[in-house]
């Protein structure tokens, strides 16, 4: 034996012990006694606690996943990279079973890598499914994507992204694909899938998830996933990786109800159930409008605050005007004098007589000449100036708030959906859709004469509907009617006459499709009509409920009636038998 080796070994031993000491301190686990932390543990344990990084905190603990990671002996990254390469290769070769198997293995190696679940679930449901010709096989692959994502959700219960994405898959993928009719039916009848979801703790058979036929509906199940995502977020999810703006995030669930209502109407459910579905969408949309939404400006807004804000602003302006007297006019005149002659002329020329250049000049001149409240307040005498400035500041704040609300409302098309949900609840909307549905069914059954008659009836109904709610002319309903008119024309086998009842609509659509149109006005008219109808209905209900009805009726359009009495969820009213139920 070489004696000089002994001191060397001793040095090694000491070095090992020395390096173990910091390791011990860093890695020391936290100690719990009676559910209380008696020792916070080492740095690693503290960081884990602080950021909720413990395995148990993230979601399911799976022995298969743990052992798969152990089995790679620290080469998890390499193993995962190889599996990704292989998965890609299998996909290229259209070797789908192997592809799906390798995705499962990737997930076992990286169960808390959110993007992997999302990406590969999308890969299965969107990219793989379309490679199959049989729509049932396509559905099976979409389902496989959803099952995959479900597992991811189980592994990462504190992540809000995955259930949100799952909501999109259930809703959009099944409900908006070309095969939507088939997919929706397959999903509703897929008892085994519902059982499987229920076993995983997600009950799609709950009252909120049941469609018009009392079976789980893909849109409503999607909404349940969105709700779950909202729940996760509100219970303090890992927010760092949440990539959705709060506005769009919270709009998803109510929009899903709108999609559901659209879908059942398309499938021929055009009775109280459809009305109820729209009512529910309407209420849900209103509730969304009442929700506090964080903005990028750092303050929260409520979308339904717009009219209140406008009122508050008017009130403030009145107060300010009374407070400042003719100072505003003075400031205006002073500034006006400083303008160039061209700017002055441009401002004073009436709009219809302005040249293009004058329009541009007037635009900038107006900005120069209009004093903002602070500027006006500064002209006040010193003793009232502070009070004036405070008032001016409030006006400016309120103006900004109103603009922000307006901006956010535009982002989610709030006005449109609000109006649409109201309009669709009306009897004329239901009648128009029912008659068109009947006509189309007769046409597909080759009952030509009957179909043409029914179409003619239907155009009258649609004319009524478009006159009342012109916004419907330029949305999906308009598209559907245009398509139907084309089919009608083919069945007629001649050009449409000049006195065709929907000629005005066709011309407007042509103009709108070519040059765009004044949607705002269409929307305004529709909103007014919807509000009026709603008020009338509310008044009718009120009078019906009162034992001794008043002798005079208040015909003045009331404020928007509260919609709170319509249930947001629950069983719809008993369905009336549908004529030509295409479901």
């Amino acid at each position: 034996m070489n004696l000089s080796a002994f001191p060397r070994k001793l040095i090694y031993l000491v070095a090992i012990v020395l390096t173990l000491i910091p390791l011990y301190y860093i890695g020391q686990p936290a100690v719990y006694q009676d559910n209380r932390v008696t020792s916070a543990g080492g740095t690693l344990s503290q960081i884990r606690e602080k950021y909720d990084l413990g395995q148990g905190d993230l979601g399911k603990l799976d022995p298969a996943s743990e052992s798969a990671r152990l089995a790679t002996l620290g080469m998890r990254g390499v193993a995962a990279a190889i599996m990704w390469y292989k998965a890609n290769q299998y996909k290229k070769e259209h070797n789908w079973d192997r592809f799906s198997a390798s995705l499962n293995q990737i997930a076992l190696l990286q169960p808390h890598f959110i993007k992997v679940w999302e990406f590969q679930a999308h890969n299965l449901a969107y990219n793989t499914s379309v490679e199959f010709d049989d729509y049932r096989q396509r559905y099976a692959w979409v389902k496989r994507g959803m099952e995959y994502l479900s597992e991811g959700i189980d592994f990462n219960r504190r992540d809000a992204n995955l259930p949100y994405f799952q909501g999109m898959m259930f809703g959009q993928k099944l409900g908006k694909a070309d095969e939507q009719l088939q997919f929706r039916k397959l999903y509703s009848a897929d008892k085994d899938f519902h059982d499987e979801l229920e076993a995983e703790g997600f009950n799609v058979r709950q009252e909120d998830g049941l469609g018009a036929d009392r079976l789980p509906d893909n849109w409503l199940s999607g909404r349940l996933w969105y709700k779950r995502s909202e729940g996760v977020l509100e219970s303090g999810s890992i927010l760092d990786n949440f990539r959705k703006s709060p506005l769009h995030f919270y709009s998803s669930a109510p929009l899903t109800l709108m999609n559901y209502s659209e879908a059942i109407e398309k499938e021929g459910i055009l009775d109280e159930r459809a009305k109820f579905a729209w009512k529910r969408s309407d209420l849900s949309w209103s509730n969304f409008g009442e929700r506090e939404i964080p903005t990028t400006w750092g303050h929260n807004i409520r979308l339904r605050d717009l009219s209140e804000s406008v009122k508050r602003l008017e009130e403030l302006r009145k107060q300010f005007s009374a407070f400042t007297g003719d100072l505003y006019r003075k400031a205006y005149d002073e500034r006006f004098q400083k303008l160039t002659p061209e700017e002055r002329i441009s401002l004073e020329t009436p709009d219809d007589k302005k040249s293009e250049r004058q329009f541009m000049v007037a635009l900038t001149a107006r900005q120069k000449v209009e004093p903002n409240p602070t500027d006006v307040a500064k002209l006040l005498p010193p003793e009232t100036r502070v009070e004036g400035l405070e008032l001016a500041l409030r006006i400016e704040k309120e103006t900004a708030y109103r603009e922000h609300v307006d901006n956010y409302r535009n982002q989610v098309n709030y006005n449109y959906w609000e109006t649409r949900a109201l309009a669709e609840q009306s009897d004329i909307a239901i009648a128009a859709r029912q008659s068109l549905f009947d006509a189309e069914k007769l046409l597909s059954d080759a009952e030509l004469d009957e179909a043409l008659k029914k179409y003619d009836d239907s155009w009258v109904q649609w004319k009524k509907l478009f006159d009342t709610y012109p916004i419907l002319m330029v949305d999906e309903s308009g598209d559907e009617v245009l398509d139907a008119i084309r089919r009608y024309q083919r069945a007629l086998d001649r050009e449409l006459s000049d006195d065709f009842i929907l000629k005005e609509f066709i011309d407007l659509r042509r103009q709108y499709d070519e040059t765009g149109g004044d949607i705002q006005t269409l929307l305004e008219i529709s909103r007014a009509a919807a509000k009026k109808a709603q008020a009338e209905e509310a008044a009718e209900e009120k009078s019906a409920n009162e034992p001794t009805p008043p002798t005079t009726t208040d015909s003045k359009p009331a404020e928007a009636a509260p919609v709170a009495e319509s249930p947001e969820s629950g069983e719809p009213p008993a369905p009336a038998p549908t004529a030509g139920d295409g479901n």
Binding site: P63, A64, S67, A68, K92, E93, H94, N95, W96, D97, R98, S100, A101, N104, Q105, L108, E131, F132, D133, D134, Y135, Q137, D178, E179, Q182, D192
Partner: protein, 595 residues
């Protein structure tokens, strides 16, 4: 699954065109290099003429004494020693690992897969082949170096033994251990696979006296059962299997009994044909590329004269039976969604090679990624010179043993995709167990090759280095095609130096490399080409492991492993055994000189 049809070439055809030539070239090249290197060393040690004499003496001794006088008795003795040594080194632990792996396989394998049998078979075969490779690697590369290090080798070389015996004995001994393990693993995996797919269903409540019913949902699927007049039922094919259902009456109530799954474990004997395409106008074409990355499948246009024509040889009733089974996996490609509910339609036509006689169109709806079976009866309607006629399959359509099968797509603007192996005639079935055995034979070949290389390297390298060298051989065997692909430009990005620079500087592989100066880039490319060229040459000389591993796919997909392929690989394995033994002999011989 797209098989490489080159693997189906009959043995003699392969041997005379590819095998022999490659073998001879390899031996010639190795001999030349070996001789040159040894001569240089010998010149350095003994001078030019003496050196030549020494080498000539060694070579002649090999042919004169050592090779012809190699004793099988002594080889057997060495094999016994190697066997005992391997057992002492606790190689049986590999089996324990395997069993543990199988016990938990359910965690990793999805029983809901479209074809669980396929998944299970490829899992067991692939994992065993990797395990056996590892076993071969560890056993072979450490044994001789340990003997040399412990100097136990001297007690052997001083006895009248020949280096060939030492080498062959070791290879044989380790192979025996491996074989023993492989047999046990094979039996265990067969039990695992056949047990894994067994499941039973029950009947869901059905209408009295109904002819059709639905089974319960078990093992993540259910079947539709159709009952015949006599009351026995058979299910539809789901996840590649069927069940038979028998009905008994117990106390006036009908009790349905499902049999085990049938058809999951098969070994179909396919007869592949040669595939040609015609274009839209019926003239000879190449098939259309619809834009998929994998271009092995070509497509034909719907509602046109575009067709896929397979020509089969040796078609006879004695081979295929009275009815001809055509099996196919055609894929569809839609340029527009069209009718969503109905699949893309096509037709199959049988035609004589001279084109004068053809059958009526047999319509089908494409079943993508599933096996579609069409049974063609021996008597069928058709046309001779355009005139309708009753035809006999084997007498009228088959001419000189040849028959053509034509596939057309019937829907306008939709496409059918196919590669040669996508349609074949089924000449019955081979027993599954026999096919499974053949699959394991390929794993055995692979293990033997690894052992041969391991022993060869261990004759002149120390244990760990020999292991790394053997791993390099395996790695080159697996991934060497990347080098040849890069060399030919098929894989973009260039060789190792370029890859390193691109990785660090994040440059796209599709663009020419930028390093500041064109002359430098040119230089890097030049060196890369050299490295890739060398790797390609080496790869061509080494065993092709991916082909060996891919045979598991044949077994998994229920395709009978063609006997010609088994013989081919036994020849290749034998070739490598001889080659490595000879090389080892010379190395051991030189070490003896040194000692």
């Amino acid at each position: 699954m797209l098989f490489d049809l080159e693997l189906m070439t009959p043995f003699w055809e392969w041997f005379t065109t590819v095998g022999l030539l490659n073998g001879v070239l390899l031996i010639a090249a190795l001999s030349a290099i070996g001789f040159a290197v040894c001569y240089i060393v010998a010149v350095y040690l003994y001078g030019p003429s003496e050196g030549f004499y020494v080498i000539a003496e060694v070579i002649s001794k090999f042919f004169r004494d050592d090779l012809p006088k190699t004793s099988f008795r002594r080889i057997a003795a060495f094999a016994r020693l190697a066997f005992q040594e391997a057992i002492r080194r606790k190689v049986l632990a590999v089996f324990a690992v395997f069993v543990v792996g199988l016990m938990f396989a359910g965690w990793y394998l999805n029983p809901g897969a479209d074809d669980p049998a396929k998944l299970y078979i490829s899992f067991v075969m692939t994992s065993i082949s990797y395990m056996m490779m590892m076993l071969g690697l560890f056993l072979s590369s450490f044994s001789l170096p340990a003997d040399i290090k412990n100097r136990t080798i001297y007690t052997i070389v001083t006895k009248p033994v020949r280096p060939t015996e030492i080498v062959l004995g070791r290879i044989l001994g380790f192979t025996l251990v491996g074989t023993l393990l492989l047999v046990v693993m094979g039996i265990v995996s067969f039990i695992f696979v056949s047990r894994g797919i067994v499941h039973y269903h029950e009947m869901e409540p059905m209408v009295a006296n109904a002819r059709k019913g639905i089974s319960t949902y078990d093992a993540r699927h259910s079947h539709t059962v159709t009952f015949s007049e006599d009351g026995t039922g058979v299910t539809d094919e789901v996840k590649s299997h069927k069940h038979t259902v028998s009905v008994r009456e117990v106390d006036g109530k009908k009790v349905y009994e499902f049999g085990p799954p049938e058809g999951s474990l098969q070994a179909r004997i396919p007869v592949f044909g040669k595939l040609d395409f015609t274009g839209r106008d019926g003239s000879k074409g190449d098939g259309i590329n619809v834009g998929y990355e994998d271009t092995r499948r070509k497509y034909i246009d719907g509602a046109s004269l575009s067709s896929a024509i397979w020509t089969f040889d040796d078609v006879a009733e004695s081979r295929f039976g009275e009815n001809l089974n055509v099996e196919m996996t055609i894929t569809a490609y839609r340029t527009f969604k069209g009718d969503i509910v109905t699949g893309v339609r096509g037709s199959l036509i049988l035609r004589s090679p001279d084109g004068k006689v053809e059958s009526e169109r047999i319509p089908f709806i494409v079943k993508e990624y599933q096996l579609d079976r069409i049974v063609v009866p021996s008597k069928l309607k058709g046309f001779r010179d355009g005139q309708p006629q009753e035809l006999n399959l084997y007498q009228d359509l088959v001419q000189a043993g040849q028959l053509q099968v034509i596939i057309r797509c019937n829907d306008r603007s939709q496409y059918f995709g196919m590669a040669p192996p996508d349609l074949y005639l089924r000449a019955g079935d081979a027993p599954f167990l026999w096919n499974f055995f053949k699959g394991f034979l390929f794993i055995w070949f692979q293990m033997v090759i690894v052992i041969c290389f391991g022993v060869m390297f261990s004759t002149f390298l120390t244990g760990p280095v020999a292991m790394i060298a053997t791993v390099s051989v395996i790695a080159l065997g697996f991934f060497g095609s990347i080098a040849s692909g890069s060399l030919s430009g098929e894989i973009v990005g260039g060789g190792p130096i370029q890859a390193l620079i691109r990785t660090v500087t994040q440059q796209s592989p599709t663009l020419p490399i930028e390093v500041g100066a064109e002359w430098l880039a040119e230089g890097i490319r030049f060196v890369d080409q050299g490295i890739l060229g060398l790797l390609t040459v080496l790869t061509n000389a080494l065993p092709n492991f991916p082909t060996l591993i891919s045979t598991a796919d044949f077994v998994a997909h229920g395709i009978n492993l063609f006997e010609g392929l088994v013989i081919r690989h036994s020849a290749v394995t034998f070739g490598y055994l001889c080659l490595t033994t000879i090389i080892s002999y010379f190395f051991l011989k030189t070490r003896e000189f040194a000692a």
